[in-house]
């Protein structure tokens, strides 16, 4: 055991309650200088609260923290930053209406000769920072809202790194990044300077690649700090979940390729989508794999009725269909339901209960005499809650009070309850913990086995290979490659994602020449 005095950061017996709710209780955590330390735990285990305490957003009720031996009690973000502790937040703390330069300089702009904030000085300083982090292609004058989600995440990371002289906290830094080498390189550089990194991620592969030790949180307590080399995935999962998790790949029977098509798309274009044709059959789970910004978002939004295609045709259950809006999509053929990418902005209705969220699209169906009865609502919600493994007691809670994983389960339950036979799932397990992932996978498989069709996009390749019957790789707005059966394995996918794999027949070569984002 190392003494706290030598540690970059030592957290001892920190606790925090919100009203009657205990978020953290007796959490211990020690980071050594130059170490990348993983913080693991399910959603709701208290990771975010700990991050907020470290960043000075929230003050703990009890416990002590020391930074390089001296007491550390940050009271604001700036306070903690001035001590060399900086955080890249999961919910991105960038201001969409300000420029890249302003965001990077926030909250204090560099001054010009007049003593006033100078746009040119900010631009210069920002460009210099961007260059150092290998992001010179981002224009410092661009407003952040014009950047892709991945670039915003990069910016968030860069900003934290700029201020982290002692401790860098990265909360789900790869949620929107499809390639991680850039980040890993930066982390190696910064740890070489002696900065400690607290790395929070649900992707165990990443964690193993980066970190030597990990601290596991469960129900607001720190369960253990383990040497990752000496712990198997199963061990870690068990610590996180408190029970053993089975994680073998279920053998999938080969799909009947003659099953009727539930969704057929031809020549679809719009936004970044150039020309996409494919068929999704009943009982099939079809994955879309792509790097950030290859048109997958447009594809899903068009199919969900949220955006209009510029060209192309959509057949649903054999009938040509024009999708005007989501309610139209729900009614088209046997129904298309969508689980959106951004839970917070497009998913949950924060002031409603979980049950209210789940039953919203079918509120008309479950009403009696024009009125919604809470009993009927609860019954309807409970009927699907089980199939996504959502505990029934959560149904009456405001959904905003649930963890991200349970929110995601509720959203999936909502699509199931609509009775739609085609599901569009955009990154359904983003920011979701291991246990929840398994529940979601199981729900998706059950749905497909019962004859439903699923089109999903995922930023995690293991998810694609585990779950999908077939996978299309989108590149430059087109379907660049397609894999199924034996071919569906990570190595091949990785190549195709960046456009470097052996080009399948009939694909124009030039697509491979364009560089990824």
């Amino acid at each position: 055991m190392v003494r706290d005095g030598q540690a970059a950061l030592a957290v001892r017996a920190v606790s925090k309650s919100y009203g009657a709710t205990v978020a953290l209780e007796g959490v211990d955590l020690v980071l050594q200088p130059g170490e990348v330390h993983a913080l693991l735990g399910e959603n709701g285990a208290g990771k975010s609260t700990l991050v907020k305490i470290l960043s000075g957003v929230v003050r703990p009720d009890g416990g002590a923290m020391t930074l390089a031996g001296s007491a550390f009690q940050p009271r604001t973000i700036l306070d903690s930053r001035s001590h060399g502790v900086a955080t890249a937040f999961q919910e991105l703390s960038l201001l969409p209406n300000l420029t890249v330069a302003e965001n990077l300089m926030m909250p204090r702009m560099p001054r010009g000769r007049t003593g006033l904030a100078s746009a040119s000085a900010a631009r210069l300083a920002a460009s210099e920072i961007l260059r150092r982090y290998d992001l010179a292609r981002i224009d410092a004058d661009e407003t952040v809202s014009a950047l892709s989600l991945a670039d915003r995440q990069r910016l968030e990371i860069v900003r934290a790194m700029e201020h982290a002289t002692r401790v860098l906290v990265l909360d789900e830094p790869t949620a929107a990044l499809s390639e991680v080498e850039w980040l890993f390189g930066l982390i190696r550089q910064i740890t070489a300077r002696g900065v400690a990194v607290l790395y929070i991620s649900h992707r165990l592969a990443e964690v193993r690649a980066l970190c030597s030790r990990a601290t596991v949180l469960r129900n607001g307590r720190s369960i253990a700090t383990v040497d990752l080399a000496g712990a198997s995935d199963a061990d870690i999962f068990e610590m996180m979940v408190g029970r053993a998790v089975r994680n073998e790949k279920a053998p999938r029977p080969l799909r009947d390729s003659a099953a009727p098509a539930s969704l057929a798309v031809a020549g679809l274009a719009g936004g970044q989508l150039k020309e996409v044709s494919f068929t999704l059959r009943q009982g099939e789970v079809l994955a879309v794999a792509a790097l950030e910004g290859q048109g997958q978002r447009d594809l899903f939004r068009i199919l969900a009725g949220l955006a209009r295609p510029a060209a192309g045709s959509i057949h649903i259950d054999g009938k040509p269909t024009v999708l005007r809006n989501p309610q139209g999509a729900l009614k088209a053929g046997r129904g298309i339901a969508y689980v959106p990418e951004e839970r917070k902005t497009e998913g949950i209705l924060s002031s409603l209960t979980a049950a209210g969220n789940i039953t919203l699209p079918v509120a008309g169906r479950i009403s009696r005499g024009g009125l919604v009865w809470s009993g009927l609502e609860a019954k309807a919600a409970a009927s699907v809650a089980g199939s996504v493994d959502l505990a029934a007691r959560y149904l009456s809670f405001p959904i905003a009070d649930l963890s991200g994983g349970n929110q995601q389960k509720a959203l999936l339950a909502r699509t199931l309850l609509t009775g739609a036979q085609t599901l569009l799932l955009f990154d359904p397990t983003r920011g979701v913990d291991v246990g929840t992932k398994q529940s979601i996978y199981a729900a998706i498989r059950r749905f497909a086995d019962a004859g439903g069709s699923v089109l999903f996009y995922s930023s995690e390749l293991p998810e694609v290979t585990d779950l999908a019957d077939r996978c299309m790789v989108l590149y430059g707005g087109r379907i660049f490659a397609e894999f199924h059966g034996e071919d569906l394995e990570e190595q091949r996918l990785v190549g195709a994602l960046v456009g470097h794999a052996a080009v399948p027949k009939g694909m124009p070569r030039k697509a491979g020449l364009e560089t990824g984002s």
Binding site: A20, P96, P326, P340, E346, S350, S351, S367, G370, V372
Partner: protein
Amino acid sequence: MSVSEPKGAAFQASADLRRGGGISRETTNAIIVFGLSILLILGSRFVSPALGSWSQVLTVLMLASFLIVLSFGQGLVILVGGLDLSIPAVITLGGVLATGWAGGGGDWYVLPAILAICGLVGAFNGFGVTVLKIPPFIMTMATSIILASAALGYTSGTPRGASPAAMTALMKTTWVGIPVVVYFVLLFVLAGWLLQSRTVFGRKLYAIGANDQAARVAGVAIGPVTTQAYVVSAICAGFVGMMLVGYANGATLRMGDNYLLPSIAAVVIGGSSILGGRGSFIGTVGGAVLLTTLGTVIAAIGLEQGWRTVIEGGIIVAALFFMREEFFARLRRPKRS
């Protein structure tokens, strides 16, 4: 803008353990406003011994009836994250048409027809807000200006005629010693509460107000539903115009002017979020009753108008203070050793 924050998305304590603790915030709010009203009525005995009586309660309910009906509509619009500034103009429209077309007698179908016309104004608001995407504040303000001008032109400045018989009956008769309008208000409150809290329509309004993009993804037809909220608001305002005509037996073009801010205040004091997605009609009713009670008590104190106004403003701020989230959190939080 490509990413917009959901309304009122606060920092979530992402612990599944956190919970509401039995009573919802809306209920507590409503209890607080009603409690304040009752306290005010009881306390007003100190101002005048005649106050605090049953007849004062009846007077308050009768005078509050206008505000209750109005703020129901305003509340629905606020629930979807909008604001209806056209209320005064629509009140006038309802009043002017009621006296002009149905004054004294008139055919029974005239009153619904007038409400339908008011509904059209609401549809116009809804059209501007949902299709043209004009901010509700501006759209309804423009409607208000247009409508006021049209009413001025239509009447050349003087509304004619008297109250329709039905409205006079509603406002002037009593049944078992209680004004008929009080029964009406009780029924209206029940119906309004059901509509807002228990119907599919109400549910959709909450959804839109909470997060319109998410509601859209969930298959809620944002445009039509939002428009309906404006239509309901306009119909309520038009009906209040007719009630006022029944009450005072005649219309003027400025009869709605003093109702705009109270209609918003009642909703907000009742605990609704001005950003939408939160609130209950019962709370709003409490807000309307509180404001009206305040009016009767203030009318009875012998202070200069200026100071009375100061007190009125102060009480509004105080009511908001008690309605704060933090205040609730403190109420709910059990004492910890």
